[in-house]
Subunit: 385 residues, 2 copies
């Protein structure tokens, strides 16, 4: 299989983007990625769009994006795996190059969520749970993750202060990320005082719906070399797994089996273990999700996620710095864009371009992108030679 | 690149399936495909689901399908390319095997459309056109294809009788397909007398919304041989192209440039030309679309689609028999299922299993699956050794 690398990245600012349509957001990220890669549009042979269609008035988004980016007649389609749709697009583009079908492919993750009211969004998101047996009875995403949090607290003694500490860290680093939606420091006290959403989760335990887009340009090793690209970040470990959509079928509510399976695949393929991961972007849709990710990825033992954040293990200087772009929590979560944006952040880290939030000398990084409550999980290991 | 083949196919009956949820339809097709392949579920390493999400109350369909098929923790995600979503799923699964990531992958195309009212469906479909510049002003899919028909008539003298003749052929063969939605012969007079939908198209020029699912199981050549499979149909030519979503950007309304580009790719990859195609399933969402497909695929010259159907060139015994399963017109068009169902039909033809609608001795076949008004087109060449 050909080695596949990332030669360019770009993303929009995340937040309320009433100034731009979804195709305009895609274009903004695409143009930034082209400039970053130093290539002309005509070298890009195909596009894959990661997005969750139902948030947009426009249906069948890849058609309008491919037209707006002036990329016809090149191939394009959309991938959807709930909040991991961007990683499904990245995986598809990786497959296109690994199979030898294309040499250079663009991945565009994009989402405009603020066209809808929050209640509409919650209703749509609830239907990403099983509609026959669960969402019909009132489950919501904060409710699902609140169950995870309750169980984690019950089994391992995890505390609300530890959940809040995740939000404090992510706001701390988000404040240094010019693309982040929320650029302000918070305290545990402030987070704890915020309004309850679904106990034990309150406002600062939850990420925010946002608009945004991100783009990465992939190339096969031979094509990257032929173009003289010398700061390529390689997709050396690609993991993907699924789990039941119904929470009622889960035998354990303290972690995501799909994340553990995807991580095992990615580590094996890249020839690394958890201890080699120097920087990671993980799917902190809720603070408890980041604590579970520490454990599922092997950054600490089962049940030790709370003490891991207490010990600042996920800060720069800790064993595994996590979400130095602010994470979903502070950067914002435009769902289709998120997996691609995570990839952009890790590429920037491995290139040493992150300024005040840079992990010094990082050469191996990881992305962890969850769809729904773990019915999909994509874990990728990236490496700078 | 590893050669990839189809080792099993299955599909549900198409039509109004109020007896089954969408995951139950997927299961029905999956079970039939497993039986046809003669394999156990555990050999299937991954699944790709082709569907258009917004027709279902259930969101993020691959999660609920993977659970219902008991395939967790194996990878799954969804592909969307409007009415070509099933072919996007097939292409993704082909890439997974061609890249050497998996040996055996299932493709499931599924759609339940009859949960919505026709007016809701038309509104959703209209938004597969550009919402900013077109659908907001009242364009609908019958309207778009009516423009194609008008222009084809104007430039080439194509007649309403020729359009009706396509419907007559597809109903003729659909009557012999036990899975088809409409199993009745019609006449040109009956088609011409049907109610106008968007002039010059009337009811019998339009395919029907339907429920249904189809599944194919793909394997790499080495895996297929190792499993002792001896009636494999090979995916030897895989083409995919795009075109503008906006009809206002098209310079020609008498054919689909994406279809011509995808066909050229598929022919070149398979080492064949149009004249080698012995049986084809093409995207007759409207009768004019089948006439344009004859021309775009090179079955006849530009503007000769009308005379081609008059001369019965697309009947068994003609130069290129087309839509012997009844096509979208008589078999029904559950959008995500269609591309996969086309593939099932061509596999059955190349295996010689089609009884009264069999092309004798066919060994090279083709599928042509269009999304929207050609913003996506997938053309594949299949071969039985």
């Amino acid at each position: 299989m050909a080695r596949v690398g990332i030669i360019g990245c770009g993303q929009t600012a995340f937040g309320r983007r009433s100034d731009a349509t979804v195709q305009e957001l895609a274009f903004e990220a695409w143009r930034a990625a082209l400039a970053d890669a130093g290539v002309e549009p005509d070298v890009v042979e195909a596009t894959v769009v990661g997005s969750v269609p139902e948030y947009h008035k426009q249906r069948s988004l890849p058609g309008v994006i491919q037209e707006y980016l002036n990329l016809n007649p090149r191939p394009v389609w959309l991938t959807e795996a709930a909040c991991a749709s961007g990683s499904a697009a990245l995986r598809t583009a990786w497959l296109e190059i690994a199979a030898g079908v294309h040499d250079v492919v663009a991945v565009i993750g994009c989402q405009k969520m603020t066209e809808l009211e929050t209640a509409e969004i919650l209703a749509l998101m609830g239907r990403v749970g099983d509609v026959q047996w669960e969402s019909g009875f009132g489950t919501t995403f904060p409710g699902y993750y609140a169950m995870f949090a309750r169980r984690h607290m019950h089994e391992f003694g995890t505390t609300s202060d530890q959940l809040a500490a995740v939000a404090v860290k992510n706001h701390h680093y988000g404040a240094a990320n010019p693309k982040a939606m929320f650029r302000k420091e918070i305290t545990v006290a402030k987070a704890r005082a915020s309004e309850e959403v679904s106990a034990p989760l309150s406002v600062y335990d939850c990420c925010a719906n946002a608009d945004g887009a991100a783009c990465v340009i992939l190339a096969g090793e031979r094509a990257a070399r032929a173009m003289g690209k010398d700061r390529v970040v390689w997709l050396d470990g690609m993991g993907c797994a699924s789990d039941s959509m119904s929470v009622l079928r889960r035998t354990d509510l303290t972690g995501l089996p799909s994340a553990r399976a995807a991580a095992a695949q990615a580590y094996a393929m890249a020839g690394v273990t958890a201890k080699d991961i120097q920087v990671a972007d993980v799917h902190d849709c809720f603070t408890i999700a980041e604590i579970m990710a520490y454990e599922d990825l092997g950054f600490c033992g089962r049940g030790e996620g709370g003490p891991f954040i207490d010990a600042r293990g996920s800060y720069i200087g800790g064993a595994h710095p996590v979400n130095l772009d602010g994470g979903l929590k502070a950067k914002g979560h435009p769902i289709g864009a998120t997996g691609v944006s995570m990839t952009c952040e890790i590429v920037s880290q491995l290139r040493g371009e992150c300024g005040p939030r840079q992990v010094p000398g990082a050469s191996v990084g990881l992305t962890h992108n969850v769809g729904g409550i773990g019915q999909y999980c994509f874990v990728n290991v990236l490496r700078r030679d």
